[in-house]
């Protein structure tokens, strides 16, 4: 078996009295789409924050390609090729779409204009941003110079997804990327996820939308009370079984539970 692209063992994160991550394990195989499902407050967002450098776990280890890794900031994870669409989207509302797409990795002009005078290559960034939106089939956005705060919720989500798809070079993580999207736009995001996978990158998708999860996921990671309870294949399980695992109505060892791919 090949080494998983991203793994975590025994992650713990406490916020005062609340334990957001309570000894969670995680495995993302190369080239797969892994759905992460769980009730509200189960700790899904906290888990992927720990995997993307946005929070530093109190305990536990993260392994990238089997090598123990410590991300001290989102920048570290980004440098490692991990791109994340956070649930909060992480966009600057008063800035335009192109600026947001390149936030934190602006492109400078070549030559002394860029190296000495730090001059940004705004045209290059704009045209790349436009190409990216076109390539993703995001037609609802009319102008790349539009301020993010003037976009609809779904359009904002599309911008955040476009950014991750554009720069992800190793792993793409999406935390409820379709929550505010219409049927057609959700379908586009699913297409996009498939295209990212076809590029050979594994994708982590957090979603509450069971039909969507069953449509796209290779495996489903079920999260409950801050940790992983089970990992199942969509082919082996029904939606109601997965929901029962999420809520605790069904336990992984139960006779009528679907086959669990990991020990828990």
């Amino acid at each position: 078996m090949t080494t998983p692209a991203l793994q975590a063992r025994g992650l713990v994160k406490r916020y005062g009295q609340v334990t957001a991550i309570d000894g969670a394990d995680f495995d993302l195989d190369a080239g797969e789409v892994l759905a992460v499902v769980g009730d509200n407050g189960a700790g899904k967002s906290s888990l992927i924050k720990a995997l993307s450098g946005a929070l530093i776990p109190d305990e536990g280890t993260v392994l990238l390609d089997g090598v123990e890794t410590h991300f001290h900031s989102p920048l570290d994870a980004r440098h490692a090729g991990i791109e994340t669409v956070h649930q909060t989207l992480a966009l600057a509302p008063a800035m335009d779409i192109a600026t947001n797409l390149f936030l934190g990795r602006e492109v400078r002009r070549t030559g002394p204009l860029g190296s000495v005078f730090r001059l940004l290559d705004r045209n290059a960034m704009r045209s790349q941003a436009q190409d990216q939106l076109d390539a993703l089939g995001i037609e609802t956005v009319q102008h790349i110079g539009q301020l993010v705060e003037t976009l609809s919720g779904g359009q904002r989500q599309a911008v955040a997804v476009a950014r991750a798809a554009m720069f992800g070079s190793k792993i793409v993580i999406m935390d409820e990327p379709t929550a505010a999207l219409g049927v057609k736009e959700s379908g586009q995001v699913l297409d996009l996820i498939r295209r990212i996978r076809d590029r050979g990158l594994p994708v982590v998708l957090i979603s509450h939308d069971m039909p969507q999860v069953f449509e796209i996921a290779d495996r489903i990671h079920v999260h409950r009370l801050g940790r992983r309870t089970a990992v199942v294949r969509p082919a082996d399980a029904s939606m109601s079984q997965v929901v029962s695992l999420m809520t605790g109505a069904l336990r992984p060892g139960d006779p009528d539970a679907p086959p669990n791919l990991v020990d828990s």
Partner: protein, 296 residues
């Protein structure tokens, strides 16, 4: 402006306008540093105090026989260090800028008075006073070196804010610091750099102040911090951070200067001028609030 030119016959003369601009330079320079800090969502109540201490350092060193270049360097270092202290407290201890700079204001004012030993210090040095001297005539308008310097400083800051990644990061962290952090921006470092740069800008303000009035007085520019905030807010920069421009601040600083000198020439007591600027800043903030609320 129209009201002032109607009530005072000298207001719209070229000489007088040149004077208004000269008078606005100190507040405009303070407001430039203030703009950077307000864009990050902060506020600097200590800027005028830092500047006044800067003038004291410059004047006393020269009076004690220092070379004026050495004095200038020392003045810049002191102002930059004070900006860095504010920035360090805000970024490393995560304290609210309002409280930090209020504390800095109190400490620096007291330090300035102690350092002054109860005196003010006239400056006769050429280099320290040079910004008040005439550079050349632009048409009929007397352009001082101070004006030229201010134009250069605003242009450079405009460039840094709108044409470099640093500027984008300043706006982004003023928009939403957590979003900025998640996109990989080094939020703490950027915020700190803003306070440091502002400190350097206040040193230029100190130099401008000595060009305008060649006398370092620990009690000068008592309302400089509020005037600079007024200029920033009137110029359209949001006190919530992330929105605004230095070009707006130019306009704001000119409006404050025109208001002050217009009211002076109309023979209105400076206390009433404070009333007028106070009303203006509240009106500008209220306007900002209304606009923001509508856009949410």
């Amino acid at each position: 402006m129209i009201v002032f030119s109607a009530t005072t016959s000298t207001f719209l003369t070229v000489d007088n306008l040149s004077l208004v601009v000269q008078q606005s330079l100190v507040v405009a320079t303070l407001a430039l540093g203030q703009t950077l800090i307000v864009l990050t969502g902060g506020i600097d109540l200590a800027n005028a105090a830092i500047m006044v201490l800067g003038t004291m350092v410059l004047a006393r060193l020269v009076i004690n026989g220092s070379n004026s270049v050495v004095a200038l360097i020392a003045g810049f270092l002191v102002c930059a260090a004070l900006g860095a202290i504010s920035g360090g407290l805000v970024t490393m201890l995560n304290l609210p800028p309002f409280i930090v700079t209020l504390g800095m204001l109190t400490v620096i004012l007291a330090a300035g008075r102690l350092y002054s030993e109860g005196n003010s210090y006239p400056v006769t040095d050429n280099l320290l006073g040079i910004l008040g001297q005439g550079g050349y005539l632009f048409g009929q308008i007397k352009v001082t070196h101070g004006m030229t310097l201010a134009v250069v400083m605003f242009a450079v800051t405009w460039y840094a804010l709108t044409r470099t990644a640093w500027g984008r990061h300043v706006y982004a962290l003023g928009n939403d610091p957590e979003a900025a952090r998640l996109t990989g921006i080094r939020v703490g470092r950027t915020r700190f750099s803003v306070y440091l740069v502002a400190g350097v800008i206040y040193a230029f303000a100190a130099w401008q102040a000595l060009g305008r009035i060649p006398n370092a007085d620990p009690n000068a520019f008592q309302t400089g911090n509020l005037d600079s905030i007024t200029a920033v807010v009137i110029g359209g920069t949001s006190l919530f951070g992330g929105r605004g421009s230095v070009m707006g601040t130019v306009v704001g600083a000119l409006i404050v200067a025109v208001l002050r000198s217009g009211l002076t020439q109309a023979g209105i007591d400076s206390l009433y001028q404070d009333v007028a600027t106070g009303v203006l800043v509240i009106a500008a903030v209220a306007f900002d609030q209304v606009v923001r609320r509508r856009s949410r």
